[in-house]
């Protein structure tokens, strides 16, 4: 690569992925980049000609590294359950096979269509998770795919994850603007050509998560506790990190959401983790449940990540992808303390803000992990799955 920059200190091994995932956002001119594997203190990169100057990109890379490390303190990772199987029976990338079976169609980065057999598998996994929700008497809810900017602002999402937002707009209610758009709008091979002045200000975004809707639903209410489940489309833009079914822009999430006093919510989360371990065993998946942190935007990253880890606020289900020799997060158990109770004025009968927790499964990732570990021949799948599918693979 043509350029390189020396970092002030080496990136710790456990932060390398976190660091590299942030680099696509520093400049539209950045084409390729890599961190020196041994010393982890120098980044090599290539730039598109005519874009940002190398010195500017270099300073931004150093800034990202500095902020990632600022206020960081070592936290020991807690492992709640581990079923890592060393003898993977299948280690091929399932994407090409799925595409040749016409079960997977790529529309663009992070955007895929599923065929009937993949849908059947995804629905089966979803029904198993929804069955857990029934044990908690958590009734099904449905929420819009659009989410108000006011709601995301109140949830502090706009400031915490700005790079992943997907804004929604529409044309202004203005005859001239609409006619102008109709006249000039066309796809030029890279983008939709239009006059930005014809667009309305942003009121809504595509929802990045399911549970925010429910906290807004309960706004200004006083309740004892509540448990619900919902499935919904979620959207998180991840730039060059979007890669097959591993990291989608547009994905499906099944959530089980608990609202109540702190101990109630924590107890429900613990039981959810136990139920999930039993379910993953029935799916015969290799997995580990570990403490984790969200990919906060860079300015708050170290503080928020440290806080989440220290307070055990997030645990992830990590499933190995044998063809990649890396793990994929397919689900998470999140405890928000009383953050949403305060943000949305949801209180208990004693007047105190309620605590919240949500368990979420990214269904496309569950399907990918299953197929990556078990392969595309349904005769080799666990009976718990093959006994319930109509179309054999």
């Amino acid at each position: 690569m043509n350029h390189s920059v020396q970092l002030k200190s080496a990136i710790p091994a456990d932060l390398v992925d976190e660091f590299l995932k942030r680099l696509p956002y520093i400049s539209e001119s950045l084409l390729k980049y890599d961190l020196t594997t041994d010393s982890r203190d120098r980044v090599h990169f290539d730039l598109r000609t005519g874009g940002d100057e190398p010195a500017i990109v270099s300073s931004r890379i150093v800034e990202v590294a500095d902020k990632l490390l600022k206020a960081r303190r070592a936290s020991s990772v807690k492992v709640l359950a581990s079923r890592i199987k060393r003898d993977a029976s299948f280690d091929s990338d399932p994407h090409p096979g799925l595409e040749s079976m016409d079960e997977l169609h790529r529309y663009g980065a992070g955007r895929y269509g599923f065929g009937p057999r993949l849908i059947e598998l995804m629905n089966l996994f979803d029904r198993d998770v929804a069955a857990i929700a029934e044990k908690y008497k958590a009734p099904a809810h449905q929420f819009p795919t659009l989410i108000g900017a006011d709601l995301l602002d109140r949830s502090r999402y706009l400031r915490s994850f700005p790079s992943s937002l997907t804004m929604v707009s529409h044309l202004r209610e203005d005859m001239a603007a609409i006619q102008d758009f109709a006249r000039v709008a066309k796809w030029d091979g890279e983008r939709l050509v239009h006059n930005p002045d014809s667009l309305h200000t942003i009121q809504c975004l595509l929802s990045p998560s399911v549970c925010f809707h429910y906290y807004s639903w309960l706004k200004d209410r006083s309740i004892d506790s509540a448990s619900i489940t919902a499935i919904g489309k979620c959207f998180r833009y991840e730039s060059k990190n979007m890669d097959g079914l591993e990291r989608l822009w547009d994905f499906t999430m099944r959530e089980i959401i608990f609202v109540g006093a702190g101990q109630f919510v924590l107890d429900q989360r613990s039981q959810m983790i136990e139920e999930t371990v039993a379910l993953l065993d029935r799916w015969d998946l290799s997995f580990e449940i570990r403490s984790a942190n969200d990919p906060f935007f860079i300015d708050d990253y170290a503080s928020m990540a440290t806080f989440q880890l220290a307070f055990d606020l997030k645990f992830e289900v990590l499933a190995p992808l044998p063809y990649k020799r890396k793990d994929l997060a397919i689900g998470s158990f999140n405890y928000h303390q009383d953050f949403f109770g305060r943000s949305f004025n949801i209180s208990g009968t004693d007047g105190d803000p309620l605590h919240t927790s949500c368990t979420g499964f990214g269904l496309e990732r569950v399907v990918l992990a299953f197929l990556a570990q078990h392969g595309l021949d349904s005769a080799k799948w666990p009976d718990h799955i093959t006994d319930r599918i109509r179309s054999r693979w």
């Binding site: 206020a71 303190r73 070592a74 440290t306 806080f307 220290a310 055990d312 953050f339 305060r342």
Partner: protein
Amino acid sequence: MTPEIEDRVRKTIIRTFNLSPEDGMRELRMGSLPGWDSLGHMRLVVELEEEFGVSFPAYLLPEILDMDSIVRETLKLQAEQ
């Protein structure tokens, strides 16, 4: 020793969260002040570390949620570090 530490901890909390002198005399604990949320907690930890020249390990962060616990753990860390 402890009253002096208590005073410095209280002043650090007042400074971190821009409290009025009256609010600074109230019961001070995480969640009792508008700014003492997750991010505020981490800001306070950094301020306390600078004030007392100690370093709070990650496992202690959930333990230092009010005046008494901060004073207690700061004294322990000063003795150790």
